[in-house]
């Protein structure tokens, strides 16, 4: 595995996990410790949570700072510009994360 694959696909400690909220202070109980878990939880979490985090820039920040994946962060930033909501937003974010995960998993 390349160093990039190792870095992006790593499992992080729980204090660096992504915690899904639906609004300020309202935690859903769903969290992700890796890109793989993040990809799975995108399909499980309430769409409101995806809207909340995408437009605050939380996904981009976590992917950049914790997973250290500038390429996926750029994809997320691009989706942010379309002002999508609900399941359309879920599909777009889910597809971008899945594409990236599959590409890295093959390396």
């Amino acid at each position: 595995m390349s160093s990039e694959t190792n870095r992006v696909l790593k499992t992080v400690p729980r204090e660096k996990a992504f915690y899904f909220f639906t609004s300020i202070g309202n935690y859903t109980g769903i969290s992700a410790l890796s890109l793989k878990e993040f990809m799975e939880k995108i399909n499980a979490v309430n769409a409101k949570s995806l809207e909340f985090h995408l437009y605050r820039g939380d996904f981009e920040k976590w992917i950049t700072e914790v997973l250290e994946d500038g390429e996926l962060a750029g994809e997320i930033r691009r989706i942010q510009k379309f002002n999508l909501t609900g399941d359309i937003l879920r599909n777009q974010v889910g597809a971008a994360v899945t594409r990236r995960f599959k590409r890295l998993s093959k390396v």
Binding site: Y19, G25, N26, G29
Partner: protein, 171 residues
């Protein structure tokens, strides 16, 4: 030296009506003099002094504090009520950890349909509140989910009033 132990009855401190009257007077204004309390209750100030010392010695009076109207201090901080749903086996540990954070002003374990912890939180603004909950509360092992409500208006804030009908203080 005077004996400052209050009489014990069935593992409870026995306080008489005068003790409760003194406590009530102190709750209204803890800065008033022994003389003023004595005059109000019709007893000698030395009696008031002696009883207050006993109440302090036995930790019925834990401390004297100040109730501040934060709005008048110009503080822009916000208050929120946070409910933390926990795995019952982890409740004590989660509460113990939360108690260490300065943002947590009050903390309770409650029984509702589920076991939960309720806390009164103070933060500089909504973003700081969210950062505290996301970075410090959600990651605690045993936290299942969190519900938070931001206080928009305070209608009442006080302590439980002491009444003369109270029977005693259990240890």
């Amino acid at each position: 030296m005077a004996d400052r132990s209050l009489k014990l009855k069935n593992n409870a401190l026995f306080l008489d009506a005068t003790d409760f009257e003194i406590l009530r007077a102190l709750q209204e204004d803890s800065r008033q003099t022994y003389m003023a309390i004595g005059k109000r209750l019709g007893i000698a100030h030395s009696t008031v002094f002696e009883r207050i010392k006993k109440l302090e010695h036995n930790e019925v009076i834990k401390r004297y504090t100040t109730l501040i109207d934060s709005e008048k201090t110009g503080s822009k901080s916000i208050t929120a009520i946070m409910s933390v749903y926990t795995d019952p086996k982890a409740t004590e540990k989660v509460a113990g950890r939360l108690a260490q954070f300065p943002e947590v002003l009050e903390l309770y374990a409650c029984i509702s349909e589920e076991l939960l912890i309720m806390a009164k939180i103070s933060a500089a603004d909504q973003e700081s509140l969210h950062a505290f909950i996301a970075n410090s509360v959600a990651p605690l092992p045993g936290v299942l989910r969190i519900r938070t409500s931001v206080v928009t208006k305070r209608f009442k804030e006080t302590q439980l009033s002491i009444t003369s009908e109270s029977k005693g203080v259990h240890l």
